[in-house]
Symmetry: C2
């Protein structure tokens, strides 16, 4: 057995003689954990679908899910066992509670139910709790109690806002998910209008939350600060680019995620984490003090855990904007659904079964998506190109690749895409004149963070086909957490006419 | 049964037919929890010393400790059960894992081992994990990732500092544990020297941590922001006034607590939470940018989890200050120990048994303590009186009472105390000329937060008798976590000559 520095001298108490071999099995497990000896760990957990392991990342059900988690995590944090309490249940069964002393300080607890079978002593149930950090740096950049206090009265009194790191807050910087941006950023002197209206309504700013690099992604990963956890699906991507606000809201660390949606950046994390999310009508909520990505499509919006709060936030944030009604009827687009994978298409179709819905033909959405992609890329490069040229290593991976592709676009390509986009917009507008379009908010449930890049990219392309429709129309799009696929959430998206934002939220009440 | 709003429709899975009555007992427990029906909860946990219940606050061992916790907490946070998994262990035993959906968002987990006996179904082991908040407002006022970056190299590279909310940090305010102070506070323009030296040595500022009101207490409670948790003793006071930094370090949320000690404000929380803590020689570490309490006694110091780090911090923070040697010999003061309660006296005496120690007579320390109290109070009122007079309701409870007593002191009383203090100082200096004084850092282990005020005050007076000695001498005092009383830490304090700070830390290595 390798020397893993495991100290087996922790005090052990028991309410009877510990069954033979149990304590040895406990320490064998601990040594394997510290050595990240995955085969030994797998063998010390009971086979089958009933074995359970939970931690702050969620509850894993079944040996397979637990083994996959172990393979993906790259080892457990180093720790010492400060004490062991054994409750003997019978000759072959015991609960073992260990007080954990992580190398980084604090105390945690591990509760295990062990049973002896022909396979020897194995864990049936495990629950691990490590001490919480001061702040989760994957989710937040700065947090206060609060960071900024709002008005002493108003409809949002007591509500805490997680502000995506693209909005100006006086006295703070904008970091945009990129360390080099943060380094260059000045202290803001004026708070963004979209933040200020929430403060004026009584909300407070809890903190500044993460974003995918320059908001140019819908995955929710960030190589600099870590990928925020998906609060609903253990080990899954949180969705982006509003990844910090989404995880903060889903985890209960704030109530309102103030975010942006250019190509799906609110709707996708809402869908992946079971939240309500609204992409507002283009131009409806002021963008002063917002770092742009692609102004032709950039919108302000929010993520919440409940519909009623989203309704209030939407109402107070669009002062002076017109209120349009939403059509009475709902429509689905069979051509769009046909391209989805069977589980998502089936779950969505099952969900619409009890609704009265029209069918509509949106034409060649793939072509519309391509025009959207080119125009968005051209704008993103126009906005960020000069800075990225001066900071060639500032962004990474898929985001860097997208910017490279954007830089390579010719003026002619962009002009043709813009023209094509206008044609698509007119056609989509006609197709949706009389109905609220219903579609899945994303083409899949949240992929696992360990999924291979090609699979994530394929899902991304499929999802953008769904999300680009509201982008092209400049229309409001509400993601409602109404579907579950094997316990993982999937949003239903409602797309309505421009300025029907509040009406959409109202209409969604009838769908829950 | 009262209507507690408990929804018993959560999905339940089991690896076999659940034993009769188990699910009903589970829901009965849940309803009692939501109704804070303590007798029912107590009855549903198995009697005896082997029953276990743990959460982020620590592991409680035995039915009595669990029942005391329930009586004191005023109910559990509201939650919904999102799912239940049952592992049947035998006809009378099962593990029940519940996914918790707190009303404030996020997901938690509760793992219970149930057993049926003549008393019916009861819990033998329970482990509850609620989702972590964005930041614990009892410990922190502001947190960043980091809040302030230090030098890119140096002996403290990678170390995170929790700064007590009395030190200036450019761009931030000083709150001093009192909301009205924070409200009136300007943005600081210059960072305190004691902070800057740590940044220059490569450390970063993790955040601004809490203090007792105006640092005028050693309990660690704060009525405005809540009492930080004691990371080592479930339900106990954290010790103060450096309560935020101490809990942050003990919980692993930072590595270095930058704090102050006027009458024990570093040594007491170090003792209560098993940390290393140094009160430095008076004047050794610059106090520029520090909000004073009583300048005659105020010192800068630190809390850490390990001795070696404290040594580095002390070394880099006292640039230019002289280094005095520490005496070879150790001394104890039997007269001082005689006044302690038996458990503390016995534990300390047992600990010194293997050491070669002299005995020394410190004379009438009670009289010295009284002179210290009066001079400190007079200074505290001189510093804070004008502001407190203008803000009569700003501080509360015992702190307000101390300030009222301070305001009532006559010039004559203060002059006599100052004169007496000088006499005591000279006598103590002679008594400690040739030895390092060893004494308990506090007169007790950490009292429970539910302990009655008179008991806490009695312990406070006893503790201040111990801590005032270094204060009167202006001498360094190191609290080392070397004793445990039934699992609760108690510090051993080393008091040495002025400027023997580093030597004391070095000498303590031989005691561990």
């Amino acid at each position: 057995m390798p020397d893993t520095g495991v100290d087996t001298t922790a005090p052990v108490t028991a309410d009877g003689p510990p069954p033979e071999g149990l304590i040895e099995a406990f320490w064998r497990y601990e040594q394997a954990l510290m050595a990240d000896d995955v085969p030994v760990l797998d063998a010390l957990f009971a086979d089958g679908p009933a074995t359970l392991r939970g931690d702050a990342g969620g509850l894993l059900v079944g040996h397979d899910a637990i083994a996959a988690f172990r393979r993906g995590r790259g080892g457990a944090p180093k720790r010492r066992i400060a004490g062991v309490h054994i409750r003997v249940l019978d000759h072959d069964t015991a609960a073992v509670v260990a007080v954990l002393a992580p190398g980084t300080g604090g105390r945690g607890q591990q509760t295990q139910v062990w049973r002896r079978s022909a396979a020897g002593w194995q864990v049936l149930v495990a629950h691990v709790a490590n001490p919480a950090p001061a702040v989760d740096p994957r989710i937040w950049r700065e947090v206060g109690t609060p960071l900024m206090t709002g008005a002493t009265s108003g409809p949002l009194l007591g509500r805490r806002v997680a502000v995506k790191d693209l909005f100006a807050i006086a006295g703070h910087r904008i970091g945009a998910g990129v360390p080099a941006v943060l380094e260059d950023a000045p202290l803001e002197t004026v708070t963004a209008r979209a933040v200020q209206v929430l403060l004026d309504a009584g909300a407070s700013v809890q903190g500044i939350a993460r974003t995918d690099e320059l908001a140019y992604s819908i995955a929710g990963a960030n190589p600099h600060y870590g990928t925020p956890p998906n609060a609903r699906v253990p080990g899954a991507l949180p969705g982006g680019s509003s990844n910090g606000p989404a995880s903060a809201i889903a985890l209960g660390q704030a109530d309102i995620g103030l975010a942006t949606d250019t190509g799906g950046s609110i709707r996708v994390p809402a869908s992946y984490q079971g939240l309500w999310g609204l992409r507002t009508t283009h131009g409806r909520v002021p963008r002063d003090g917002l770092l742009p990505l692609a102004p032709r499509f950039d919108t302000v919006g929010w993520l919440t855990r409940d519909r009623a709060l989203l309704a209030v936030v939407s109402r107070v944030s669009a002062i002076g904007a017109p209120a349009a009604a939403a059509p009475e009827r709902f429509a689905v687009a069979p051509g769009l659904l046909a391209a989805l994978t069977a589980p998502v298409r089936d779950a969505f179709t099952t969900w619409t079964r009890d609704l009265e819905v029209d069918e509509t033909d949106l034409g060649d959405v793939a072509a519309a998506q391509e025009a959207f992609r080119v125009v968005q890329a051209a704008e993103a490069w126009q906005v960020n190109g000069p800075w990225l040229t001066a900071h060639p290593d500032a962004v990474s991976g898929a985001v860097a690749a997208r910017f490279r592709a954007a830089a390579a676009l010719t003026t002619d390509e962009v002009a043709r895409a813009a023209e094509s986009l206008e044609t698509h917009r007119e056609r989509l507008e006609r197709a949706l004149a009389d109905a609220i379009l219903l579609l899945p908010s994303a083409a899949s449930i949240a992929p696992q963070t360990t999924a291979d890049a090609a699979a994530v990219d394929a899902v991304r392309t499929q999802t953008l086909r769904l999300t680009c429709i509201a982008g092209i129309l400049g229309a409001p799009a509400l993601s409602a957490p109404l579907i579950e696929i094997e316990g993982a959430p999937l949003g239903v998206c409602l797309v309505g006419p421009r300025n029907s934002d509040d009406a959409l939220i109202h209409r969604a009440a009838s769908l829950t």
